[in-house]
Amino acid sequence: MRRDECPACRRVLPLRAVRIKMFATRKRDELNAFSVRLAVAAALCAACTSGPGTSRTPSPPLRWGGDAEGGAPFVEADPADPSRVRGFDVEIAELIAKGLHREPQFVQVAWASIQQSVERGDFDIGLSGVEERPDLAAQHALTLPYYEFQEVLAVRPSDTARFRKLGDLAGHRVATLGSTIAYGLLLDEQKRSGLIPVSYDDDVHPYSDLVAGRVDGVLLDNIIADRSLRRTGGFVIQRDPIAPAFYVGVMARANSALRDSVNRILLDGMRDGSVERIMRKWNVWTDAQAMYVNGLLTARTTDSTAGTLPAQGAARATVASYIPSLLRAAVITLLLSCVAMALAVAMGLLIAAGRVYGPLALRVVLAAYVEVIRGTPVLLQLFVLYYGLSSVVRLPAMLAAILGLGLNYAAYESEIYRAALEAIPPVQLEAARTLGLSEMQILRLVRGPQALRLALAPMTNDFVALLKDSSLVSVITVVELTKQTAIYATNIGSWVVPGILCSFVYLAFSLPLSRFARRLERRWSMS
């Protein structure tokens, strides 16, 4: 996933889409061989298809899916006309549509959903910096790669000499987008050297956190790295790339006829220079890309045997293989939720007490806090806490998540407690006063305990809600249950089993809580 500038205000827009994961790496020559076979297959199939101009009925538009949130140079809203999109992926789509004698029609889709959407028929082809991976090819029809990019390592200038490759970063935090080829490379390196992968949901904050010292390296596509360097600076990109990879178009698995036509068009585009012109226009034409195209066109004339997609080596992950990681994520979710709720309860009690007993100035301040927190999205608060304050205090992700959720829910809890405190009959407080108890003793011994019983049910509801809201903290790099489930679902290309498993875990947490609360309510019910 990428981000770019808003065409209207020219400000940087964060991207929240998640890139497809990649847990296996491949050597460049393997990829090239794979691509060559695809190209030849496409050429052979092209010979059997009708040529342009044979269609006698108007062709339907070519619906292509992409994520304009990805930004330039991939897909972005055109600053001159924000209702249109531009970028090299846009022009590749136009090239393909022209070859098919169809009109291109853009369909906006979240980057992480491109594969699922194309499979369910929302559009004909997905083009938005989709990385080529064996497991993706096993689940969908992929075009031949139309662009080769490099996974490059970015480090702080002071670390240029000591962090040259991933192996140098043993024990250090290295950021990337979650569920990408780069993330897979980091996971592999973690097993080898103990490097610590840190997953992000956008491609801007890894670099800002690198500059801020939260992470010690960033591994991402060279296009994204170059863009971030131009935009923010403060880091260097190591000269030697870590690994090559490719962008492809993705189609429904059953749509092999379209794939073959698209491959023929892409090969023609490479042969006549159309692809090069597009890439040069967007300033992403590289020597590696030129070598890749030349190799592809040369191979087409020498290899005429490969006619079908190669068998994919990537085995589908079994359910069992994901259970441990889901359980680990579930523990994180539970731990995060419990600590955040404890903070929310403590803060909520203090805020409620301040609003009920405090002087006017304090009541005004606390009321403002409650209204501001309740009136703004928790997602925004997490961003501000983790990224916005990073120049002042660099909170670890887990701590920021606990603080963000805890402080947010404290506002809601305080309203529950305030209402509960005010619901205690005044005669109870007067009875306590006539006994000589101080106001603090009355709160602690009489009013508070009775209010707690009234607040129990809404508190439990809030805790269940917090359990689910904890999924939001993935935006600040914490991989919890929902995030892990999303990774799992993307890997196997289905949400059915991961969704059921994830739901089961959430229910396993929340149902006993609800039962416990109902039992306490019955026990504490007041006549």
């Binding site: 007067e430 009875a431 006063r433 006539t434 006994l435 000589g436 108890l437």
Partner: protein, 250 residues
Amino acid sequence: MNAPNGHALSVRGLRAVRGTVEVLRGVDVDVARGETCALMGLSGAGKTTILRSVAALQSFSAGTIGVGGFELHPGPVPPESRLREFRRKLGLVFQSHALFEHLTVLDNVTLAPMHVLGWPRSRADEAAMKLLGSLGIAERARAYPREISGGQAQRAAIARALAMDPLVLLMDEPTSALDPARRGALGETLRALAAEGRGLLISTHDLDFVRGFADRVVILADGLVMETGTPKEILDNPRHPATRALISNS
């Protein structure tokens, strides 16, 4: 702990305003040690306002209230920190009992001794059980307020008020929820409490109860004391129209 004038409770020239209405217009009431004094009057006469003012739960505009040497003066209710000594001299039993619903009867009674007097739990429990035993509800000590009858709740509330051994005990409509048998038992209890040297001021509509157990009755109407005397003098030979109206409405 006698008041300077020899009374356990001395109310002088008490005036109180609620909104734009002057609900008390100069009330004088004295309660001697060992005396049970009944405040009577139709609804709105000012009985509860007198009790709440004496208990320092609401402010009054003029007059003084003296309890065992401690005086309350007109103006806002003082902060609790300045009422600590006063609170130990005076107990109040609310009409609704106002027991703390989250505590057992025993814990209701031990709450103040433990947290105001600083007694250890064992001492507070021992004293509370003795008190509950004297009021006949020791067997319900572990019950929660929602689990006991109205009569038991009232005795629990009395025990809670007595736990601090006050000089003056105020009671608001103590017989309103009691059957005749319970009413008699309550009267005997109050008589015993007065015999210990306490002054009891009781707001009530119950003529039979007053006749049976009060030493003196004060008739209130329109925020003023209309007449005062023994129950026999006042209730058997009413002179003031307010007293006659009270008797005819009972």
